[in-house]
């Protein structure tokens, strides 16, 4: 249990407000909550990779950063045109 684990656990609490936003309001508001949750998740994976001291785990954070961007763009396009 080092300071990186403590920081990652503290950041996990930030997912609760994002989840509440995802459950209320119109679809665009929910999308903003989802994007915020993706950012928080990326930072949590970054901290956990350093906590476990494995360089290869940083690739997970990188993949999530790129994929949450792609997912958010797809959702934004669909909400703009069709849904």
């Amino acid at each position: 249990m080092n300071e990186w684990f403590v920081a990652a656990l503290a950041l996990l609490a930030g997912l609760v407000p994002c989840g509440v936003v995802c459950l209320r309001g119109d679809p665009v508001n929910r999308l903003v909550g989802l994007e915020m949750a993706g950012t928080v998740d990326t930072l949590v994976l970054l901290l956990l990779a350093q906590a476990y001291d494995r360089a290869i785990y940083f690739d997970l954070a990188l993949a999530l950063a790129l994929l949450s961007f792609a997912g958010g763009m797809v959702f934004a396009r669909f909400l703009e045109r069709w849904i």
């Binding site: 990186w4 903003v32 970054l46 940083f58 950063a65 958010g72 934004a76 703009e80």
Partner: protein, 110 residues
Amino acid sequence: MSPRGVLVAALLVVGVGVTLASCVGVLVMRDAFDRLHYTAPATTIAPLAIAAAVVLEESLSAAGIKALLVALVLLVTNPVLTHATARAARVRQFGEWTVQEGEQVKGEHP
């Protein structure tokens, strides 16, 4: 605790604190446009602080470079995502905007 350890802990506190404050800001704002503002600190200050903490701990090894790369990706992609989301919100609110027949577009000369 070494001076470097103190600096790493301070950077982590900054990163975590900014992100948690942004999450609360996303929760309490009224509409999507206000909420979108609060995604910015969590993708600029927080990743840079955390990546700086990793680089201080590990120097510029594979871990440090990858952490900086994650921060850079978040820094570049989030403004694009914010713009697309705000555009979707505006189109849903007011409808698609197009130039009407005979309408003068500012900055465009016939």
